[in-house]
């Protein structure tokens, strides 16, 4: 297998972007990544794009070709493929791009992720997100998507003594980071009380425990490592790529509070990279709900099972902590345009590893991990990136 580098990144602002269409967003992110990578259109061998539900959100499928079209690549006739794995669509697209170069098939690939969620109403957006869960055996009986994560939270609190305050502190931390990210949907700090007193959605999760409905797109340019030097001096290598699956429904899992797909994807990525959780300097994890970040830091091996809440309380995961988590603001504050999220995580890691993350820069960051989850844990990708 060939080694693969990220040589360019591009991100739109995340948020309620009323004046931007699905097409505008992905074209903007893609152009930014291509300019950042210092490549030309003729250099690109293929496009992969992650999107969870363009069909329900904007009434458009067939977006592989669409993205190539709106980005100006229709007459180069390069292959353009859409990848879907619910909220992990972006991470899957990154992995497909990575594999296509590692295999020797392509040299340079653009990977995009996009979602335009605000063209439908809030109820419709929530129902579309619920399609990531098991429609026949969870949603049919009234389990909403927040309720499924809420059931993980109830069990975590029962089994390990995790508190609502610890959950809330995840949101407080991620908003503090988001306040330092000019592309974040929410760029303001929030107080613990605001999270604790927010409107109840599905107990124990309130509105401020949930990531928002967002519009946005992200893109990266991947290149065979041996050719990356032609384009940039700041080479960021993908040293590990893991993907795993689990049952679609939460109730059929081995353990309600462990996302085994995360455990297995991480194990593969660590092994390939030849590192352990202790070697990771910072991580972007899938905090679609506050409880999800607590489970993630446990399942990724940063802390023992059950100690995630305490780790957050002890400020281990803040920007100046021993393991900064979600320096971008995470899904909670940066926003969660679902298909874009997994790609945007890579963008954040690349900025950090290049030393270009501005006010939220983690000093001396050399190795980062990105963790992207689909549904309540049926799909997971983990990528490990290192500055060369």
């Amino acid at each position: 297998m060939r080694e693969v580098a990220v040589i360019g990144v591009g991100l739109t602002k995340f948020g309620e972007l009323w004046d931007k269409s699905f097409r505008d967003l992905i074209a903007e992110a893609g152009s930014k990544a291509i300019i950042d990578a210092n490549i030309e259109g003729k250099d690109i061998d293929a496009i992969y794009v992650g999107s969870m539900s363009s069909g329900r959100f904007v009434g458009q499928e067939h977006i592989g070709a669409l993205v190539a079209d709106v980005s100006g690549f229709s007459y180069t006739h390069i292959p353009a493929t859409r990848v879907e794995g619910a909220c992990a669509s972006g991470g899957l697209a990154v992995r497909q791009g990575y594999l296509s170069i590692a295999s020797g098939m392509h040299d340079i690939v653009v990977v995009g992720g996009v979602e335009k969620m605000n063209d439908v109403g809030g109820t419709s957006a929530t129902e579309t997100l619920a399609t990531a869960a098991d429609q026949e055996w969870e949603a049919f009986f009234g389990a909403t998507f927040p309720a499924i994560y809420a059931m993980i939270a109830t069990k975590h609190m029962h089994d390990y003594g995790t508190t609502k305050e610890q959950l809330a502190q995840v949101a407080v931390k991620n908003h503090a980071n988001g306040a330092l990210n000019p592309n974040a949907q929410y760029q303001r700090p929030i107080k613990l009380d605001a999270v604790l007193n927010s409107t109840m959605v599905a107990s124990p999760l309130g509105l401020m425990d949930c990531s928002p409905v967002s519009d946005g797109a992200a893109a990266i340019v991947l290149c065979a490592l041996e050719k990356a030097k032609r384009y940039t001096d700041k080479i960021i290598k993908i040293t590990g790529s893991g993907q795993a699956s689990d049952t679609l429904a939460l109730h059929a899992r081995r353990d309600i509070t462990t996302l085994d797909a995360t455990v297995h994807a991480a194990k593969k990525a660590y092994k390939q990279a030849g590192v352990t959780p202790k070697d990771i300097d910072l991580a972007e994890v899938h905090d679609c709900f506050t409880i999800a970040e607590i489970c993630a830091i446990e399942d990724l091996g940063f802390v023992k099972k059950g100690e995630g809440g305490r780790a957050v309380e002890d400020n281990i995961t803040t920007l100046d902590g021993s393991l900064p988590v979600n320096t971008s603001g995470g899904l909670k504050a940066k926003g969660h345009p679902v298909g874009a999220t997994g790609v945007a995580q890579i963008v954040e890691l690349v900025l950090q590893l290049r030393g270009e993350a501005g006010k939220r820069q983690v000093k001396g960051a050399k190795r980062g991990l990105a963790h992207n989850v689909g549904g309540s844990g049926a799909t997971c990708t983990v990528h490990i990136l290192e500055a060369v």
Binding site: E136, F140, G142, T144, A147, M151, T199, M200, A202, H251
Partner: protein, 136 residues
């Protein structure tokens, strides 16, 4: 929603009667029924046998839903739970006929047949299982 009705009536054995199936190779029981046992895989093909579940179990975890999809809006706040049935499978269902504050992990429950959701005033009404506190 306006879907074809077949997708709802073909689930009747499960949603009305809790029909599961059992892998006769390893004796594990699955609900909803599976075409192949995920433990025995190819060895189990053609060896899955229907069994009816007792409908008794206990609450593994739960949440009180306050913000619900349109078809469930009339029911809020309602309790959604994962229930471990005494034959082994875990399922997601509502807990009803009790104060939401009384629901707890480990609570013994039993199946009851109820209206699950309705598509507004004129749409279809869907029935199936919910659970309530066990009488014994």
């Amino acid at each position: 929603m306006g879907e074809a009705v077949a997708r709802f009536w073909r689930e009747i054995p499960q949603r009305y009667n809790l029909i599961a199936n059992k892998c006769t190779v390893c004796d594990k029981i699955f609900f909803p029924p599976r075409d192949a046992c995920p433990y025995c895989r190819r060895k189990s093909i053609g060896k899955m046998k229907d069994v009816k579940l007792s409908g008794r179990g206990e609450v593994v975890t739960y949440s009180v839903v306050h913000v619900a999809p349109e078809n469930f809006e009339e029911q809020v706040p309602y309790v959604i739970a994962i229930i471990k049935l005494e034959e082994g499978p875990q399922i997601t269902a509502q807990i009803v006929d009790c104060d939401v504050k009384d629901v707890h992990i480990g609570m013994k429950v039993e199946q009851t047949f109820r209206r699950i959701q309705e598509e507004g005033y004129t749409g279809a009404i869907y029935y199936g299982y919910k659970f309530r506190k066990a009488k014994t």
